[in-house]
Symmetry: C2
């Protein structure tokens, strides 16, 4: 039997959980890391490779896709899955976060956000209703509520006002999504908790979201420059405010050590451009920490990027070759290092899922932290 959206938790250890989300387009094993496919492509990767390395779901960006090729066009072309040749689940963000970051180009009102395209300066509008419509046109499997994401270092009353508006927008998102007809029957809607680093605001936000009711709950407004310590301090309380029987998604996170610490605190889903962007820039992730492949010390190193990695790149190519490709600006350098990094992230998630299932997650996390040098090797 297939499900629109069914989350089963198979095992827990402390606050960490492992489980499965069943959806019509496929199963998502949690904790899950979602590669980012901004403009209808996980940059420098073929979709069959994204699947081969173990990704169950990818993320698409409403902001980028509404501007190019355009949501209506994607719909005319049969939806995002067909367009980009990815038949499995896709989560789309609401566009809110990216529009907010166009600081000089946007205007926010209770109705929504008007903004100028970074591509050609053309005027556009996003609101809860329009964001729901765009995500429906794209054919998204997991739709995100439209919210405002203020910087964590703003004054508390500004954070509070913003969060309150996001909760009103969450209700409008719910209504807009529910009006989506057949699409609403085949997909899921997640609400997004805001409130920055403030426990009271986070609680207020969580209560507002639970009152509306969503298939899953995201933790927004973190990984915006507050640092890992402040993020973990917030994750010590924020996930527990969200319904335990629903997936919790920490948006835009993170580094491998962020993921381990967040799973430890009860998070089930992640997305981040870091592994793919780093791959294009010559940074490779390993169990010992990140490495800069452009560094001359790799020029004659015949060993693999990570001897403990099971990916095809580590199986076939040396550090010396990756160094050469990145020094030469060859596209294959970005292709191989992106594949390795995203594969490494999937291996990390699989290792966490296995450890939780075996009741050995605390042991795994301790060993990970012993070996992993966050500042690089």
């Amino acid at each position: 039997m297939t499900h629109r959206f069914n989350f089963s938790i198979h095992a827990t250890e402390g606050k960490a959980r492992t489980g499965t989300i069943q959806m019509l387009r496929g199963e998502i094993r949690t904790p899950a890391f979602m590669p980012v496919g901004t403009a209808a492509t996980v940059k420098a990767m073929k979709p069959e490779t994204v699947r081969a390395i173990g990704a169950d779901i990818i993320l698409g960006n409403t902001y980028h896709l509404m501007l190019r090729p355009g949501a209506e066009r994607v719909a005319r072309l049969g939806g995002l899955h067909k367009f980009m040749n990815w038949p499995r689940p896709i989560l789309t963000d609401s566009g809110g976060y990216q529009v907010m970051s166009l600081s000089d180009l946007r205007k926010i009102t209770e109705e929504g956000v008007t903004f100028a395209s970074h591509l050609d300066g053309s005027r556009h509008m996003l609101s809860p209703e329009r964001s729901m419509e765009i995500q429906r046109l794209l054919g998204s499997d997991i739709v995100m509520a439209f919210d405002e994401c203020p910087r964590a270092d703003r004054p508390r009353d500004e954070i509070a006002r913003s969060m309150e508006m996001s909760m009103r927008w969450a209700r409008r998102s719910r209504a807009g999504f529910d009006a989506g007809g057949e699409h609403a029957e085949r997909s899921a809607l997640f609400g997004i908790q805001q409130g920055a680093l403030d426990e009271g605001l986070r609680r207020h936000s969580a209560e507002a979201l639970r009152d509306i009711g969503f298939d899953g709950y995201a933790i927004g407004g973190l990984a915006v420059g507050e640092g890992q310590e402040a993020m973990f301090a917030t994750l010590d309380f924020a996930p527990g405010m969200l319904p335990a029987d629903r997936p919790r998604y920490l948006m835009g996170v993170g580094k491998p050590d962020d993921l381990v610490g967040a799973v430890e605190r009860g998070v089930d889903m992640f997305d981040c451009v870091l592994p793919s962007r780093s791959g294009r820039n010559g940074q490779g992730f390993t169990w010992g920490g990140p490495l800069n492949l452009r560094n001359a010390r790799h020029a004659e190193d015949t060993g693999p990027l990570d001897p403990d990695c099971s990916c095809s790149v580590c199986g076939h190519y040396s550090r010396a070759y990756l160094h050469h490709l990145h020094k030469s600006g060859e596209m294959l350098g970005a292709m191989l290092l992106t594949e390795h990094n995203l594969s490494f992230y999937q291996q990390l998630m699989q290792a966490m899922r296995d450890a939780i299932a075996l009741g050995r997650f605390a042991e795994f996390a301790a060993r990970f932290r012993r070996n992993y040098q966050p500042k690089g090797q």
Copy 2:
């Protein structure tokens, strides 16, 4: 039984031939198109994909590799095959053609060529002996003699003097190659006919090369701006001057219609950057001619790039998607279009091999020319 180098012709039709070159690292079906792997990578392609689309052999560039990562370094790393994860035959050019094109940066004497690197201005030297040494260090399977390639529009006496020097360099290349010990026993050496568009000079060059003796013979000095008509006029006589029982390799050619016309005139091997470079620039080859995927008319075209193409790209992606990727500057656009183009070239070679084997090559060539619009669709 494996062979250092054995060329068998299976069928002929008019001047066209189809056959097989057996080498220790694998078999090369002819007529063959060799994808260009300039800097130890066929740009934007994984080597397993290069093989999957049907390539039996690729080309490496001595000039680029000697500068970065350096021939001695490649040798220390186990040779070019291991370095780039391509276990099959590799043909390396001699560096001559590319050094000559550094017009302001090089000085030619009887001894060889001194030049400045386009990367950092450092001084380097290439001679027949050094070129043989570099190709041996790389571990090349088919080594090219070091020659000078003057522009076809130079005065006849200049072309003649250059060709005479190239023939003296061919003899020194032969001696240098033969002194290469074990490498000489496992690889092959090709001579290069020069003489531009002049029948007398081409004959003189062919005789000099036959006198020295090579495993195969290249036709150099064409596709340097003379146009298809002049190139075909030269190919009406040049291949027939070379030994019929040895492969004939037309260097740096070409467009699909060039390949058909050259096979018709007795050529067995080709290389060209065109399909890969075009793929990065948004040009896709089809049986109807080249297409510019950046053109807005493809924006909502759900059809494949070429309905008669059997490649994985045409099987999974629309013209609309390729258009989107190229307009967005996404790396996947270059990856997919390079794969399609190189696959299309391999399918063209396979179609020619099949047609010659069936005695239907004249029919194939006529049909190809009826359908193919060289200026684009």
